[in-house]
Point group: C2
Chain length 495, copies 2
């Protein structure tokens, strides 16, 4: 239905993207923000038609897709607000001191856009982390042009969203090639995008294998470029003793919900639950198993994901020492995911790396540790994660300082007494985490700080005020909070 773009066409398109970038970067922050809000309007205007296209392509329920579109529009408008406000530019100004010997020069620093950005959307969020999702919104806010490669699992949805962005470009009178939408899944195509010298950064959400390939290509370029790849996570949950004793049943209910939410197709799905053997853990596992067995299988995004879930679950359950605790009822539908809980001893887990891997779907593995020392051992052996959760009383926290530190070291977001699913779009969110959860633990892909991924600082030395960008002028016409001579202020600079 959609024609793959050829490697030759890519070259030409990237050249056009670079030209559009040259024009777009010169516009004021308010123009970027206005454009992003207009995309939001166009997504709203796409109405029921867009929801129905996405339902057909993703099997996601209507209510979820309506919520996700609302979230996507919120991302665009809240990043637009942040963009216009300008605090993300990290402006530092040190004013000249002509009396000093040697003279202290005037230096003013701000973030500037990197250049054309390539975005690969996720299959599991056809709106919020796809064509007009968080990466695209961040890049536009930063002042970059964007090339999106449509996700092969929802090409029609992507095409319709692309039309909304193009309509916004047209309404705002921006260069047509500011946004370029292409199709194709050949590896050569992906590589030709990443290795083109005009491309300055990459946003990606998907599998470790694909994300790692992009990261390696980007680093092997003559001029390496940053890749922001979010590559999955098992989001470990640590059940500390006092909390477990107090609330085993309540936790089991909450976690049954979190594990099966959206057929378990969230990057923050809790895939590992770590507790210490004993009556309280038994009680939790029994309650969790009972709850899970009563949850009806839900339809997954597409056949490939459903099949991968079955295979990975079967492989995990076939590992020595791993036993099935509970499972939902089988149904004669290959697209449906039957939820399951398995269990393994800490010692076995520690020696089998396969059990550390994500089983994408409504599955979680309970790790039965023999004591707190073994629980710490497990935390120290886990790879980087988007989130980690401590189910703990204040006493538990004080009694387990090394564990808390070890858990912090492996994650980007550290939750107490909650579930990891649900990623709030706000400035304090850090949706990131140490490798291999992402390829760059220093940046978030959710919240307006995500804009910073597509910018770098430039210091302007000894420039006359009239030639400086408005953001750096003495008068501070944009009312940005700036650090002037080491003090934060939103006032103008008076000579």
């Amino acid at each position: 239905m959609f024609t793959d773009t050829s490697v030759q066409e890519i070259e030409i398109l990237i050249g056009k993207s670079q030209k559009a970038f040259e024009q777009y970067r010169q516009l004021p922050l308010s123009a970027r923000a206005g454009f992003m809000r207009t995309i939001g309007e166009e997504l709203e205007k796409a109405g029921d038609e867009l929801i129905h296209i996405a339902m057909k392509e993703t099997n996601l329920p209507e209510a979820r897709l309506r919520n996700e579109r609302t979230r996507t529009i919120f991302q665009l408008t809240s990043y637009a607000d942040a963009c216009e406000k300008g605090n993300w530019l990290d402006i530092r100004i040190d004013i000249a001191d002509l009396q000093r010997n040697p003279i202290k020069p005037d230096i003013r620093k701000m973030l500037v856009p990197l250049g054309p950005v390539v975005v690969y959307g996720a299959s599991n969020f056809p709106f919020a982390y796809s064509t007009a999702g968080g990466d695209t919104a961040s890049a536009f806010a930063a002042g970059c042009s964007v090339i999106v490669k449509a996700h092969p699992a929802h090409p029609e949805t992507s095409d319709r969203v692309s039309k909304a962005i193009k309509d916004a470009i047209s309404r705002c009178g921006l260069p047509e090639d500011l946004f370029i939408h292409i199709f194709g899944s050949a590896p050569e195509l992906g590589k030709s995008l990443i290795t083109n010298h005009h491309i300055k950064a990459v946003g990606f959400t998907g599998s470790f294998t694909a994300g790692k390939a992009l990261f390696d290509w980007a680093n092997q370029r003559k001029e390496p470029i940053p890749v922001f790849a979010e590559m999955g996570s098992v989001n470990p949950v640590f059940l500390l003793p006092e909390k477990l004793k107090e609330s085993a049943d309540e936790m089991a209910q909450n976690y049954a919900g979190s594990i099966t939410l959206g057929a378990g197709q969230f990057c923050t799905n809790p895939g590992l639950i770590i507790g210490i053997e004993g009556q309280d853990l038994d009680r939790f596992v029994t309650a969790l198993g009972l709850a899970i067995s009563q949850i009806a299988p839900a339809t997954m995004l597409h056949k490939g994901i459903a099949k991968a879930y079955q295979q990975k679950k079967a492989l995990a359950l076939a590992q020595p020492g791993t036993s099935l605790v509970a499972s939902g009822t089988a149904v004669p539908d290959n697209l449906k995911a039957i939820p399951a809980i398995a269990s393994v001893h800490g010692k076995t887990f520690l020696t089998n790396p396969l059990l550390h891997q994500e089983v994408f779907g409504p599955y979680s593995l309970v790790i039965r540790c023999k004591n707190e020392a073994e629980m710490l051992e497990v935390a120290l052996h886990l790879e980087g994660q988007l989130t980690a959760t401590l189910m703990a009383t204040e006493t538990d926290m004080r009694n387990n300082k090394f564990l808390v530190a070890a858990v912090q070291d492996i994650c980007g977001r550290l939750i107490m007494n909650g579930v990891p699913t649900g990623v709030e779009v706000c400035l304090a969110m850090h949706h990131g985490g140490p490798y291999p959860a992402t390829t760059d633990s220093r940046f978030s892909s959710v919240g307006a700080d995500a804009i910073k991924r597509f910018a770098r600082p430039v210091a302007y030395q000894n420039w006359p005020d009239s030639l400086l960008p408005d953001e750096l002028k003495n008068a501070n016409p944009l009312l940005i909070w700036r650090t002037v001579n080491n003090e934060l202020t939103n006032k103008e600079i008076t000579a």
Copy 2:
């Protein structure tokens, strides 16, 4: 005189560094700051002895070394001030909204230290970018432990500075292994440092070849880590027509000084000067040549650097179409660098990549462009640089917008009507730049923002106030500027 550390010892030392990190990270910002100020005091106390050791090892003049020590102490104390102030932690707080459906969770984000950091100092700054230099100071401020591999060109200086740091550790009652100092230049040693899983980041100043090797090793690890390598720069200077007409002679004098400053051994040394053919450029070149020919050869850091300068200069001058404009007087001393200016046509420069490379020493190449279009062409073909300079009137700037944009794209610091040598230590400084000037254009190695290189964000969700780090508590006991519900404030949060 100093024994090389073995690969086996490295393993043990890194384990100790990790243990020291675990303790150090728990200390308040004020303790980190106090420690850094104490290092400054110890460097001061090292007195004339330290200066004399460095003079003997580096051939640098006494006044320069005294200034450099003062600068190093200023770095330590100014980064300590920034560390204690806490604004660099980029704190964002979004307060819970329990009325919302679903509930909006409380999320609070701040930077946390990465872990043990390896630092490779520079030969050309035995104090400011070496053992207790900017990288070490940044890492300590971020809350990391540090392992410094002594630069083989000044081991005794490094050892004496290391003693100052160790004395400061002892005075402050900090863990002994917070700072580890090792010797050795075998590649296996370097690799064993970078590839150890406890090491979380690398700071480096030196050659492209060495920096690139570290970058590749770091990216090929099971868990890739950031490498902040500063790898040299030719710091192009663009002479725009009106400015050149107005001030050819004055510019020639200033640039003769900048090119030969410190025997040309600065990473910001102006190695390329780009102008448009004509009388004004001729006048500039003649005056620059005359000034250079009168500057006495200065002693370089060591034989290796002096020999490399002679060879690279000879190779550059041997390129077709490249001619010598002027040279200092030859002297019978292999350690002395004879300053030189060469010249080449824009067209020839564009087709010969060798001429784009740095000749480390008092050498600069004048590129004679036939018109403004060719000058733009040169800008578009240059690689990433630490700095670029525009010698330009306001009219020149307005007449050459594409050139200005192209020049900004290749540099980290964009100077108007000045010289690139002289790197002010202040928050607005950006000492960085696109690859290959550095391996990460998003971070600076000078100024307190350099601290951020060794930290990453963690978001704390739903934590009770009593368990949060002080930096994030409602009461804001450290009086840090924080973004609370999207607004910057240094006030406490009242419920």
